[in-house]
């Protein structure tokens, strides 16, 4: 069932629900047996035109555990891009050297463009503010693993809901499973209308709040994101709200025993370190799940599993 062989993964919308579930099932297999020499003899290029520690290391770990070799760069300043080479030329050249490309690039749409000229599968590891589908897949894996299902969950999205690429992709993906959403953000960083209209079109429920309320006890998943100072036009507004969106251990008392806290990382101060030892804190395991999910994605796109 190599539905996706030789296809690229640019946007979460490229995948049918069946294909998403197949990747999650495969990721479960890799969780049980992470070291499998399925990429032996294969070369994967990790082209990071802008820095990203977690995503790059997670991919490189996934490729290494599968026995594949890695070429690439983590900063475009050491490459011919700094000499003025176009993305077109870089991709056409590098695609001769490898079986698959993992790419992060600051320009939006760069991954779709690369996938059209590469001739080999391209995995989008983030194209500016646009898409980051492997993050969404590892989030779905983490949600299903901790809740046992993706159906009928109550998901709390917290922090920067206006600019947060990960929360938008997660919302678009979770809308396939009758999810209820609670949005918790300062007024300036509210969920954009286009996403609310999208949920309306599916008849899904969502509620908006400006602070953590008593309904936190209803949450199945709390997905935290960082509220960044530079997003505020008025620094006083930032000062007013900066501590409102910090999750502390004391706030978790009445939450469901099965509730789990996710965060795409890096965290700065939005989850207090006193939460780390709570069994409901799941963000570091979530990062580990990223390796299994990426192993599943690599094998799927290469038609190996």
């Amino acid at each position: 069932m190599h539905l996706m062989k030789n296809r690229s993964l640019v946007s979460i919308d490229d995948l049918s629900t069946r294909e998403i579930l197949r990747i999650l099932d495969l990721a479960e297999e890799f969780e049980k047996q992470p070291t499998q020499k399925l990429l032996e003899g294969k070369v994967a290029a990790t082209l990071f035109f802008e820095p990203s520690t977690r995503t790059r290391l997670s991919f490189e770990s996934a490729i290494s555990r599968l026995g594949g070799k890695i070429i690439g760069f983590s900063d475009s300043s050491s490459t011919s891009v700094s000499k003025g080479e176009t993305l077109n030329d870089t991709i056409r050249t590098v695609s001769n050297y490898c079986d698959l490309i993992v790419m992060r690039h600051p320009i939006e749409g760069s991954a779709r463009f690369a996938s059209e000229i590469a001739g080999i599968p391209v995995i989008n590891a983030g194209d500016g503010a646009n898409q980051h589908p492997t993050q969404t897949l590892l989030d779905l894996f983490s949600i299903r693993k901790t809740q046992g299902t993706l159906d009928n969950l109550n998901i709390f999205l917290v922090g920067d809901l206006k600019y947060g690429r990960t929360v938008h992709s997660l919302l678009l993906a979770m809308a396939r499973w009758k999810t209820t959403f609670n949005f918790i953000s300062p007024d300036e960083l509210r969920m954009p209308d286009e996403y609310k209209l999208f949920l309306d079109s599916f008849g899904l429920k969502y509620y908006e709040h400006t602070d953590f309320t008593d309904i936190i006890s209803k949450a199945d998943i709390i997905y935290m994101t960082r509220v960044q100072r530079e997003r505020f036009s008025d620094p006083i507004e930032y000062e007013k709200v900066k501590n409102v969106y910090v999750l502390r251990n004391s706030m978790l008392k009445n939450t469901k025993p099965t509730m789990r806290i996710l965060h795409p990382l890096p965290r700065v101060n939005e989850i207090h370190t006193d939460v780390d030892h709570n069994s409901k804190a799941y963000y570091f395991e979530q990062a580990l799940n990223g390796v299994y999910t990426r192993q599943a994605i690599l094998c799927t796109l290469l038609g190996i599993k």
């Binding site: 946007s11 077109n88 600051p106 320009i107 939006e108 749409g109 760069s110 463009f113 500016g128 646009n130």
Partner: protein, 152 residues
Amino acid sequence: MKEPKQLSVSAIQNGTVIDHVPANTLFKVIKILRLDHIDNQITFGTNLESKKLGRKAIIKISGIFFEDEDINRIALVAPDAKLNIIKDYEVVEKRVVQVPDSITGIARCMNPKCITNFETVTTKFKVVSKKNVALKCHYCEKITTQDNLQII
């Protein structure tokens, strides 16, 4: 004495007349249809009175008959345009333009951070709204609205 009927733009024997083009998008239509690159005889009239458009433009092109696919490209800037197909000075067919489902290589993506504004990439859009034209970029997935529409 009755005034003789005068055509503002002289008649053609065989070809296509594109009428009801908004006066302010005449040159965009010329660009989209690449009329500035052909040798056929073409006559234009612009700032003509129109009850519907206020001021309209008209284009008469000798010896050229357009495919629907080509002519629909002008729907972005001249949604009310009407085509008269002329043979032997007679109108043999009338056609209207329709906004297509997708647009390739005519419009610019309004997102300054889109790859199509950095590299030589032919733009591609899915038309997500035909009434008030809204285009979703195939690359960056952002929406370009009619007000921000720029013809390449």
